[in-house]
Structures are given as C-alpha cells and as structure tokens.
C-alpha cells in the first residue's frame, strides 16, 4: 500500500480573479493507509464545478474554505483499494469528496456506493450526481413549476442547466435555455427537447427571450448572475420565482459582485428570489437520485459529459469551465477503470 504514489494539487494561495496554475502546487506523496472506519479510494474521475471557485476564497460560507496547503476539494468517483470499514469492500465503486488527487482516504460513511454497471461512471458526477440533484431540488422545491409555465435556465447546456430544462419539460412547462454558441443551442433544442434556445454569445438576450417568452418568465433558474440575471428580472411574470443556484459570471471578478440592478422587479411583480445549495437537501438525496435514475432509464433525461484526460491538467481544465468551453458535465479522467 505505502508504495502507491499519490499526486495531489494543493492550494497555495487564494486566487484573485481567474484561478491559475500558480495558485496550486502539484506534489507527489505516498498514498498512506486507511484508519479504522476509513477506505482508500483510487480516483477514476473528478468533477469540475463552478462552486470550486468559492471554496478557494477565505471567509464564511455554507462550507469552510479549502485551507492553504490543503488538497483542493473536489467531488470524485473511484474504486476502493483498501478498506477498514465493514460497509465497503475492495472493488466497490464509490462517490464522494475525494479531492484533486490520485488516491483519497475517506471515512466510509462519507462515501456513497454506486452500481458501476448502470451508467457510465462520469454520469454519477453529473446528471445522476450533485448537478442532477441540484437541478432536481432547486427547480422542484423552490421553483414549484406548474404545467404551462415558462421556465428559463442559463448555462443550459451545462451539468445543472441541462437537467433543469429536461425536468421542466417533464413537468409540462415551456422551456427556454440560454447557452453559448450554436452547438450548445442546437443540442438543448434538438437533443434535449427544450422549446427554444438563446445564444448569448451571438444574439441579444433580451430580444431572444422576448421572442420566446411572450407571456413573461415564470421561473428563472440562474446559474450565471450578472447581466443575464438583470435582463431576465426585467421580464418576469407576476408571482415569478427566481432560483439563485450560482453566478459563474461573477466568481472570478476582480471587483465586487454585480448586484441585480433590476431587483425591484420583484416588488412590482410580487416575485421572489430564493437561493440554495444542494447540501441543504441531503436528507432527500435518495428521493432525488431515484427520480433522476427513473427518468434516465425511461429515456426522458439525457446527459452528456466532457471528459478531459489527466489529473495534471486540473488548473487548465478548471479555467476551461469558467470560460464556458466545456460541453456537458466537465470531468477529468484520472485513471483507467
């Protein structure tokens, strides 16, 4: 065991603006041995998520920041290679917060066993994992979509947005996605069944939304913040619900976050804006996974992953995420299955 070499990305400084390679050090140490109640997991795929940027900042949040000198936090899927807990056996496939490294030692109770035969492994980091659950609880619990309502989602081809739009279609809504570039826009309409797409890189978002949302916007699932949020706020229907899931346009700002200047649209329209993080719903994860898996195996929920090879690419792959260059759930393949 102790001969296993473990490459790790450790956070060495709190980034200002866009995260960069120099904010990490890439080191190699022995993998170590699991203690009682723990397992040693060989990481196969790592999840790249917008929330990672927030974890790098100092200060109070829903979760403690990654400490300087600590392994960068990340969700991952891997295989148990040693276990000191009766609940896990060597060979089990598990999901959990593995960190950006080849091998993770984690408490068995913080790892979730999954069936590797049911879906491609990266999907457990996407539509069947945290992003899927984020879409499920945010849209259904906060958004409370009703048949015939108009739902708009930003970052619509992304890991969360793609699931949001498909669940909204399942619930009988009119769904308009905002995505960057013709390929993503074509994908969400032709492959995922959205009613329309607005290409924020190549068309005026206000004009596009006005065309596709003639009765106003009942639900907006926001992953991006910034100008797009402001545009949507100006087009809310009465009693609209704005779900604050993320603000990827703002996470790498050098300056203060841009607040929604049109927030008084909430007043005029008796609308609400509510935020959440998926961990708020931890007690209901089994319900969410069951629903998502049911839709997936029933052919109503499609997913796509964007797989980049090699742990060593981590800082660059994370930048790719923030530049919006991934197409589907972005994961790093760390090792062969």
């Amino acid at each position: 065991m102790s001969t296993l070499q473990n490459r790790q990305f450790k956070l060495t400084s709190r980034p200002t603006g866009m995260v960069k390679r120099g904010d990490f050090e890439f080191v190699s140490t022995p993998a170590g041995e699991p203690g009682p109640g723990e397992a040693l997991v060989k990481v196969l795929y790592l999840s790249l998520d917008p929330a990672m940027r927030g974890w790098m900042n100092a200060g109070r949040s829903y979760i403690a920041p990654v400490g300087i000198g600590e392994v960068m936090r990340a969700g991952g899927i891997g295989r148990v290679v040693a276990s000191k807990d009766a609940a896990l056996a060597v060979g089990d496939t598990v999901v959990g917060m593995t960190g950006v490294q080849d091998y993770a030692i984690a408490k068995a109770k913080e790892l979730t066993k999954v069936d590797a035969r049911l879906a491609p492994l990266p999907r457990y980091l996407g539509a069947l994992g945290m992003p899927g659950l984020t879409a499920y609880f945010g849209l259904l619990d906060i958004g409370q979509p009703k048949e015939g309502e108009t739902v708009v989602v930003s970052a619509a081809a992304g890991a969360v947005g793609a699931v949001v739009g498909q669940i909204a279609k399942i619930k009988g809504c009119r769904v308009v996605g905002i995505a960057g570039g013709p390929d993503k826009c074509r994908y969400i309409v032709e492959e995922l069944g959205f009613d329309a797409a607005v290409d924020y890189k190549n068309e005026d978002v206000r004009a596009g939304l006005a065309r596709h949302c003639p009765k106003g916007i009942d639900i907006y699932f926001d992953n991006v913040g910034g100008d797009i949020l402001d545009t949507v706020l100006s087009m809310l229907a009465r009693r609209a619900r704005v779900i604050v899931c993320g603000a990827i346009s703002q996470y790498n700002n050098h300056e203060a976050i841009q607040g929604p200047r049109n927030y008084l649209s909430l007043l005029v329209n008796h609308a609400l804006m509510e935020g959440f993080v998926v961990f708020d719903y931890a007690a209901r994860f089994p319900e969410g996974v069951q629903a998502l898996a049911g839709w997936m195996f029933g052919g109503k929920l499609k997913a796509r992953e964007d797989v980049v090879e090699g742990l060593e690419t981590f800082p660059d792959t994370l930048q790719k995420l923030f530049r919006g260059e991934n197409f589907g759930k972005l994961v790093i393949k760390v090792a062969d299955e």
Copy 2:
C-alpha cells in the same frame, strides 16, 4: 357647485433625480360636478408616499404612470360634498385616490367610507390605511415571523416601518429598527417598544446590527435599498426572508439603481427575497384593517403623524419625505375638518 375653485398640482415633466417644484404646474379650475355613480370629495388630508416617485416615471409597473398634464396621483381623505351614488351621502368621510388637489371627483365604489369619530383623520392615511396594510401583509404573509426570531426593519420610524416593528413585537420577535437620528431612534425604542435601534446617520450600521442581532437576521423588511440592504444581506440567518417593500434611497437616483451586491447571501443561507405591493392584497384589506384597528384600540399599536399645512407646499413636502425629514406618517393638511 361649479363655483368651487379647485387648485391642482399637475405633472408637467418626468423628473430626473430628485423631484422638484418645476416638475409640476399649480393651477386652479372649477371643481366640476360628479356624474352618475360618482361623488365630489373635498380633500382634507393628502398622503405623501415614497411610491409617488415611481408613479412619475414612464414605463410599465404595477400601476400606470401619471400622465404628463394629469393631476398628480395621491391617496387622500376627505368629505363628500356632492354625490350621485346611493352608497355615499353628503358629509361622509372617505378615503381614496383623490390626487393632489382641493376637490376630487371619484367613482363611489373606489372610495372607502371611514368613521371619523374613531381616530384622527390622518391616521386613516397611515397606520389604519395603506402604510399599515403594507406593514401587515408584507410582514405576516411574506415574512411569516415566528416567536423568538430577529426582525430588522429600515425606515423604522416611518409610516410603514413603525407598524412593522410593532406587529413583529406582537408576534413575539426581537425587533431592531434602523432610523435616522437620535429622536427617531429614541421614539421607536421608548414609545413603540422596539428592542433596539440603529441610527444610520450617526453610527456604523453593520456594527450596530451585529451588536443587536447576535444570532443573525431572520426577517428584514426593507424600505430603503442601497447600502443598508447590502449590509443586512451579509448578516442573514439561515432561511431568512427579505421583504422588498421599497427602496427610497434609490428612487431619486440619476444613475441606475444599485443592485444588492451581496445577493449571493441568499444562496449561502437558503434565504429568500420577495417583493410585493399592498394592492396585491386588496381582497384581504378588511382583515388587515380589522387587525390593525384591534391592536390600536387595544393599546398595542401606536402611531404618529407629521402634518404639514397647505396644498401649495406639495413639491417641497414631497422633497422632505425623500430627505427623511418627516417624523411619522407625512401628510398635507389641505383644509380644515
């Protein structure tokens, strides 16, 4: 009838920045005669409300803007001097949208009869009128206060804020008011029974709120927007509710409204921000009036009015409102009772 002279303030231009006398013309015309189903009302008191600033702007809102050349919209209380509707008799005291003038012709069904013996007339424009109802529905329907929660209200000595704080006390909450100057701060604590006050003109709001809200803020009733809203957002408790009632700090801006930069606190704390206007609750006004009157006659709800004499003062009195110089509900006395 037709010999009655009616002085009127008509809107002549859409103001930029602070409203000014030159945005109106002050004219005098015959009062006219009520048509079928209408009454002629002699205005006694006029209500001055922050919302009036919004009514002067062009563009879609919850209510049409005041047209250029039209009498400025305002709520008022007055006495029926002629009636062509069976529901109203000469001598009745009525509340309604009278406009900024000596005499109003209004549809009888848009006027509400009140009992002039039960309370001073200006109170029907304040704690027993729209401001009181605004406090009642905003706090109770959106805020859903629970015993022991911490409630913060801005413009706390104002017509709405003073009622919000007293209802929150009735509901068993800890109540902290934000107001400008030592007199208003002393008033809300010593007269109205708030637990604490923060004087935004003379102390650091963050430090004051931190001292008085050690467990964070569960409910914020916002009348002011701007920096104070941002400060409160950074101090929300989990599952907090921010009630967006107004943004008086922003209404006279020359530039765009300042959006709440800390809105991602909603995400971190699973909090919500919901807006409303009191007219959304029109169907429930009788319930609200009954509750407010009950508390008032039971000695649990106190009110104060700031009465300025003379219709001709209207533009200056409106400026006084936006400078926060009124102490209690601001009304103009138009004529002797």
